[in-house]
């Protein structure tokens, strides 16, 4: 088992997340793609923690912080999606053009 395996699949997961983030029309699916990207970052941190710093596992500390922030982000993001859905009656990302010029 090598560090590179974990880093490569984390990179693949991150790229899948970016693809979903850009191409999704559904706002909930955009949030799911963001969760995928955050998990890819966590996988990187855990890999570095195990292979580069196994005596003081600081990568796992950062992983716990990222999980915390991701949970907060999911709650606030889904609340924003609900508020927009109540106002605009749609969850199509192409019609959320309030802040576009």
């Amino acid at each position: 088992m090598q560090l590179e395996y974990f880093l490569v699949i984390a990179a693949a997961l991150f790229c899948i997340g970016i693809y979903g983030l850009i191409t999704s029309r559904n706002a909930v699916r955009v949030l799911m793609s963001i969760e995928l990207m955050l998990n890819a970052v966590n996988l990187n941190l855990m890999g570095f923690s195990n292979y580069l710093d196994p005596s003081a596992i600081k990568g796992q500390v950062f992983t716990v912080f990222v999980i915390t922030v991701a949970a907060a982000e999911a709650a606030v993001g889904l609340a924003i999606v609900l508020a927009i859905y109540r106002n605009r009656e749609t969850i199509d990302m192409e019609q959320f053009n309030l802040l576009k010029w």
Partner: protein, 205 residues
Amino acid sequence: MNLAEGVQIVSFGILAVMMLAAALGVVLLSNIVHSAFLLAGVFLSISGLYILLNGDFVAAAQILIYVGAVNVLILFAIMLVNKQENFSEIPGSKFRKIATAVVCIGLFVLLGTMILVTPWALDSTSPAVIENTIIALGEHFFSDYLLPFELASVLLLMAMVGAIILARRDLIPEIADTTDTVSTRLTLPERPRELTSIGNVEEIN
């Protein structure tokens, strides 16, 4: 991790294939409920990878927080905004998808090359020097990462209050001007619900 090398590689392969297939399903499937359940598969696979990386506490936290909280939250959001709408076709969406796919594959190739070329400063210490990761994590949290740990609790409180404020229904400002405050004291000043949309009201009554 006391598993043999072969067992580790085989389980890594199974978990990696599961995770990437489920992630592709999350992004590409058209039904969003299927996507939400596949997202749980991604989280569970990543939790297995954490166990392979000797992070037992983080693996348990991953299952508890992501599968137990975030995924359930996403499912509730899907149920609340469950509107089968056919998105209107916009011009150039095909080209946009192809261009995004090309950019993402290019980014993956770039990252892969970087990962394989970089000489990582591997530490040859056995991961078994820490016999209990929970104790080590707790020592980190309450000594050198005390300030971020406390800030995380404040962040969670702020996120909770903010989510409640955002997800509440609209306030009606003129209800504060009405004189019969006695009867409405215990009700939240919200827009009244349309009972006709709920259905089966007569059966309940």
